[in-house]
Symmetry: C2
Subunit: 167 residues, 2 copies
């Protein structure tokens, strides 16, 4: 099957269903995070990463997988710092780098939103799934994620496409 063939109807259906599901999930989750803890989803992710890492990460570590530009991270980190949820300081090992630390307030804030967050995810996503669905979904998503990560992320956009130059 050539790479340029059209998606068959089942693939198309899966693609659209996946997009719709995640869009609705994302919307629900963002509402909850904003209402329950005044956090954007990106800020939430950054806090999760920091707590998982038991404290300290560099800006570059932190950016990986969360944000697609360095300045975007600086912006979000600036908001988190202003809110007192993280601290930034020059890294002693490498003075170019910035060491980011969660504060106690940051941990507290995360603890505050997490139950509601989980509740939304459970209600929207997991409620209609059985254990074997979970296993299958887990297997599939991990496989796809590994596949995506193994590709050069920035070349996801095809270089030259029929029509690219026609504008």
């Amino acid at each position: 099957m050539a790479e340029t063939d059209a998606l068959d109807p089942e693939q198309l259906g899966v693609y659209f269903a996946l997009k719709e599901v995640v869009s609705l999930l994302q919307h629900g989750v963002e509402q909850q995070l904003r209402a329950g803890g005044d956090l954007s989803y990106v800020q939430f992710q950054l806090l999760v990463r920091l707590v998982d890492a038991e404290g300290q990460l560099t800006m570059t570590d932190l950016a990986d997988g969360v944000v697609y530009s360095r300045s975007g991270l600086t912006y979000q980190a600036g908001l988190l710092e202003k809110a007192g949820l993280i601290t930034r300081s020059t890294c002693p090992d490498d003075e170019r780098a910035t060491r980011v630390t969660v504060t106690d307030a940051g941990r507290a804030r995360l603890a505050e939103v997490l139950p509601g967050h989980i509740q939304v995810v459970r209600r929207l996503l997991f409620a209609p799934l059985a254990q074997n669905d979970l296993n299958a979904l887990s297997d599939i998503m991990n496989r796809v994620r590994d596949h995506m990560r193994s590709r050069p992320p920035r070349s996801a956009a095809p270089r030259k496409q029929r029509g690219d130059t026609a504008r």
Copy 2:
């Protein structure tokens, strides 16, 4: 299992993997649509809907499932109209409504981006999946989507959460 219990590790893993996969997919797709056809993903979706509907839909029809506010749709439709890809006119049946029509240029633009779009989706999402994965994923996503649609969409955010008032 109570609704407020923590997500077990497998659920958490599935949730994060799903989010990452769709985030990477979304990013790849948006880059391609912008580079290959100067369209945002929302605009792409609107064109797809209009073509699927064989021409004409009302603004409200069009909004459903694509956008979370009416003004957001007006904005995007305004861009599409300015680009000559759609037309808006008062609906004869109900003079409050606006009838939206794809132009030939709109169809052409969609035809222009679609191959590249499909290529990106295939490469990122479907490449590592076998037929039985597709079946499983299709079944699961359709089930979840039906479940989400059956809930009152705007109450996805819990009303009052521990900590809601502590800010």
